[in-house]
Structure formats: structure tokens, C-alpha cells
Amino acid sequence: MTSAVVTSTDRARGGITARGRRPRRLTAGRIGLYAFLASAALFFLLPAWIMLLTSLKPMEEIRQGTIFALPLAPTLEAWAAAWGSACTGLTCEGISVGFWNSVRILVPSVILSVLLGALNGYALSFWPVRGANVLFAILLAGAFVPYQVFLYPLVRMFSSVGIYNSLAGIVLVHVIFGMPIMTLLFRNFYASLPRELFNAARVDGGGFFTIFLRVMLPMSTPILVVAVILQVTGVWNDFILGLTFAGRENLPMTVQLNNIVNSTHGVRLYNVDMAATVLTGVVPLAIYFVTGRWFVRGIAAGAVKG
């Protein structure tokens, strides 16, 4: 620890991009600083660590009430049960059903909402239409309004055209509620591109869709990555929309998970519960750890969506 601090101090002294306070030597304050950061890290890590430990223990060990202890006889039985045979209310086919449902909801929802967001952002940035910005402002403000305000009328509309409780219904709902943030992302991105680029394409005779598909979209990789990350985690983590619109056949993983844990009767299998919880959390976590900085950009922009 001491040497570590000294190195960072040395670097700080020679550093150009000075930010924050410059540590000059290992002081009591410096030790306190690390103590605080370490205990904060502990606070953030502990629940996930406990969850993982519990999922690897047999029930006998769990009943002893030592959640911090490492498993004496680690087993993946709870994971197998959570995946394949845990009961979600009526059926006992495990969380895998929800996993595949979530995948089936995720793929079309993400593709459609990202493409639509890109198209909206492109049109708003380069093809001014009177009233379009007012529409966009309303759309953005709508992103802040709780879903509860829209849900009942949407259910009525969807059932009147026969897509309530269907895959098409839940995908459409994700496209609708993903639209504000997707449009915002692409609009800001295209607005930052040099205008000359668009003008040159126009001079060359490019039309609306030609320019979009052959000039703008190929340049949009960075923002496409951010948008996809944002939408994948958003759709995967959704609970309330899946619960309301997906229907019994298509319930996403979060809803199935909640059913497994919170509507079991009789003895609760905490190891199975925790294995199912870890399985549900693993997808967004993997995206988070793999994409790192991109993910941070995404949530900074997508914090709006909540």
C-alpha cells in the first residue's frame, strides 16, 4: 500500500492533467481516504458476493445461518434447478423459459428501436420540418412520465387491435418507450457531424434514404454501440412492461424470476432463488464488464430513461 501510494504521488507530481488534490506524502488523511474507498467497495460488493455464495451452497449449509462462510461442499445443483426445474407459479420449467422469452423480446425490440431512433435523429438533424422539434420536445418530456400514466389506455388500444398479451405487443411497447432516448442519442450525434458532409451528399444527388443508408449510418458506429448497449440492458432489466404486455406465454426473465422467488408456497429454496437471481443479473453485468467505458457513456445519456 505504501509503495503504491508513493508511485501515484510521483506520477501526480509530474502529471500534466492535474485534477483533484495533489497528494504530497502518505498522510493520515490519505490512509483514511483509502479506508473509506475500500469500505465503500465492500458495501457495493457484499450483496452480490453473498448471493453468489448462497447459490453454491446446499440447503443444509444455508440453514446454519452463516451467509458469509464459504460453501463447505460447493455444488451447482441449485443452478441446474434454477435453470431447468424451478417453479414459477403454475409450471416448473425453471428460469430458462424466461431467459429465452427475454431473448425473443430483446432482439426485435433492440433492432427496431435503434433503427427508428437513428432515422428520427437523422431526420431531425438534417431535414427540418416545421413542428418536428415540438414533437421531439414532447417525446423527450414523455420519457420522464411514469409508465403508469400510459399503461391502461395502451392496454385498451392493444387489445382492440389484438396484440395485447403477445410478442408483437411487448416489442411494440419497448419500441415506443425506447424512442425518446434513442432519438435523443442519434439527434445529438448527427448534430455534431460537420454539415458540409450532408451538403456534399445532397450535391451529389443523394435523397433522404440514400444519404441515411450510405453516408450517415456507416459513420454511426460509436453511437450505434452506445444505443445497443443502452437498449439491451434497458429491455433486459424491464419488469413492469413485460408484466403488463407480454402475456403468460412470453413473460420475460425478470417477471419469471420474481415469480420463482416471491410466489413460492412452502419451503423456500434460497440457493435456487439466488442462482436464478444471479442468472438474471448476469446478462447486463456481462455487458457492463465487457463494454466498460461505452456502458458508462450509455447510462450517462440514458439516465433519463430510468
Binding site: T7, R19, G20, R21, L33, L37, A40, A41, L45, L46, P47, A48, I50, M51, G65, T66, I67, L116, L119, A123, L124, V129, G131, A132, L135, I138, A141, G142, F144, V145, P146, Y147, Q148, V149, F150, L151, P153, L154, M157, S160, R187, N188, A191, N237, D238, I240, T254, L257, N258, V261, N262, Y270, D273, T277, T280, G281, P284, I287, F289, A300
Partner: protein, 319 residues
């Protein structure tokens, strides 16, 4: 207001109405290409039908006596009177305020501390940031279930500490109606304070480093530097974080469902859950939509001043 809403309702039955934006666009002086209109049509439909239409429909329903199915009579503010005489709704509102104040305060304080401390050229900054932010990648369902288990009175933290020899240790917030709400706050802070850290860290990195040197020269202590100089400079970031957290408070639903189901009793009920239960389980659409309207008004009350301050003066693009 009412006539407007009635008109809105008549137009609603699903047939999509693109005529309005297209019509106004055609009146624009420049020639507008059909392809542009075609591209913007989905957005126009979503704004018109979903955001405005559904919102107006909900408000309209809150003035009816609808039970299981909607009826379109007009009972004035009867549902609101009923709502504000409903013990469960009043508890929900109170919980939202108490949760909101504690959650926002704790997230801001912890997020600010983490941002400032991590900005001190610490070792392993990247790793620490990753650790502080990862809960934000998890859904509130996963968060709620993890904490429900961690705080399990019989087999969780309390039992483990007692087994370790501290017999009188008591930490059973979830079992007690007086404290269950604080357990929700704890889980919420765990999930969200990393986000505050990220937002404020971006603000801190934008502060001119010369300010620190100047403060040093003047012999201003570090805590004073952060409190009196940095805090006002990153004020806008703090406001943004506060608004985001406040919106999350009004939307609070998943976490409650996963962690406490509103219990024990009705101790942790929240308005969002009140709406969902009355719309989809208790077959009381009138009361449910009235509560949804109250949520809408709450969000607008938080949002309008902020949007006005942030975007009102410059009609340019949002940052």
C-alpha cells in the same frame, strides 16, 4: 380543458392520425419531401397517440366512475376525493416522500463523497469505479431480491452476526413495518449512488485545476475548497442528478414488488404500486387512473422548473 379531453378521446380509438403533423408540414414554405414525412410518421404517431393521447385518456378516465371496464360518465373530482381519503394511498404518498428524501440525500452525499475521493489520484481508480457502478447495471428486481436475502431476519446478516458471537445484534428492518422502508432506501442507494458518482465525477473533471492551486496558495483547507468552490461549480450536475433521482422515486415500483411486496401490511406501499394494483387487480380503473394522474402532476412539478431552467433560455440542442 374538458372539451379538449373529450375530443381527444373521440379521436383515439386506435386509427392512427398522421394528418395533423403532415398537414402543418405541408404548409411550410420549403417543399417537404414525402420521404421525410414517412420517416417522421412513427414519431408523430407515438407522440400523438401514446404520449399525448394515452395521457389525456388516463386523465379523462380519472373523472369517471369506471370500475372493471371504462365507462364515460362524468363524476367530477369524486375519484380524487376518494383517493385522498384512502388510507393505503395516503400511506403510499407518505412513503414516497420519506423514501424520496432519504434516498436522494443518501445518494447525493455518497455519490459526491465517492466522486471527490476517487478524484484524488488514487490507485486502482478504474477498478473502484467499476465496483461502485456495477449495481446500476442490475435491474431493481435483481437488486431487491439480493437485498431481501441479505437482510433476511432468520438466515441473513442478522443471524450471521449473531452466530459470530454478537448475540444482541439486531438488524431485521424487513420484518418490521416501522423500518422496512429504510431497507428499501438502503437497496435503492446501493443501486443508484454509482450513477450519481459518474455524473458528479464528470463535473469534477471539468473544474479548472488552477483553482486548486490558487486555493492552496491562499492556504484554504481542502474541505473548504470542495464545499465553497467546487460544490457551486458543479451545481448544475447536482441538480441534474437530483432530478433523475426524483423521477426514479416517483417511478419506484419494481424494487418494492421484489423486496417487500408493499409489506409488512401496507408499510411499504408506493403510489406506482397503488396504480398498478387498482388498474389490473382490483378492477378499479377510476381510482387507479386518478392516482396515476397524481403521479403525473408530481413529475410535472419536479420537471417543469428544471426543463425550463435548462432548455428554456436556449432553444438549442440539449447537452
Amino acid at each position: 380543458m374538458h372539451t379538449m379531453l373529450t375530443k381527444e378521446r373521440e379521436r383515439l380509438p386506435v386509427r392512427v392520425d398522421v394528418a395533423t403533423p403532415a398537414g402543418s408540414a405541408r404548409r411550410a414554405r420549403r417543399r417537404i419531401r414525402p420521404s421525410t414525412l414517412f420517416a417522421l410518421a412513427p414519431m408523430a404517431v407515438v407522440v400523438g397517440v401514446v404520449y399525448l393521447g394515452a395521457m389525456a385518456w388516463t386523465v379523462r378516465l380519472s373523472t369517471t366512475s369506471s370500475k372493471l371496464l371504462p365507462t364515460y360518465d362524468f363524476v367530477g373530482l369524486d375519484q380524487y376525493e376518494r383517493l385522498f381519503a384512502n388510507a393505503r394511498f395516503l400511506v403510499s404518498l407518505q412513503n414516497m416522500v420519506v423514501f424520496g428524501v432519504l434516498f436522494i440525500a443518501a445518494c447525493l452525499v455518497l455519490g459526491f463523497l465517492l466522486a471527490v475521493l476517487i478524484d484524488q489520484r488514487v490507485k486502482a481508480e478504474g477498478l473502484l469505479r467499476t465496483i461502485y457502478l456495477y449495481p446500476h447495471a442490475l435491474s431493481f428486481i435483481v437488486t431487491g431480491l439480493a437485498w431481501q436475502w441479505f437482510l433476511n431476519p432468520e438466515l441473513g446478516l442478522q443471524r450471521a452476526v449473531r452466530e459470530a458471537g454478537f448475540e444482541s445484534f439486531a438488524f431485521a428492518w424487513l420484518a418490521d413495518g416501522e423500518t422496512a422502508l429504510y431497507a428499501l432506501v438502503l437497496a435503492g442507494v446501493w443501486q443508484s449512488s454509482g450513477l450519481v458518482m459518474v455524473i458528479l465525477l464528470a463535473g469534477l473533471r471539468g473544474v479548472d485545476p488552477d483553482l486548486w492551486k490558487a486555493a492552496r496558495v491562499d492556504g484554504i483547507p481542502a474541505w473548504r475548497y470542495y464545499l465553497s468552490i467546487v460544490l457551486p461549480l458543479i451545481g448544475p450536475m447536482i441538480v441534474t442528478a437530483t432530478v433523475l433521482l426524483a423521477i426514479a422515486v416517483v417511478k419506484l415500483y419494481d424494487l418494492v414488488v421484489a423486496m417487500t411486496k408493499g409489506g409488512p401490511g401496507i408499510a411499504t406501499e408506493v403510489p406506482a404500486k397503488f396504480v398498478m394494483d387498482h388498474l389490473f387487480e382490483r378492477a378499479n380503473v377510476g381510482l387507479g387512473t386518478a392516482a396515476a394522474t397524481v403521479m403525473l402532476v408530481t413529475v410535472l412539478a419536479v420537471l417543469t422548473p428544471w426543463l425550463y431552467a435548462r432548455y428554456g433560455s436556449t432553444s438549442g440542442r440539449p447537452a
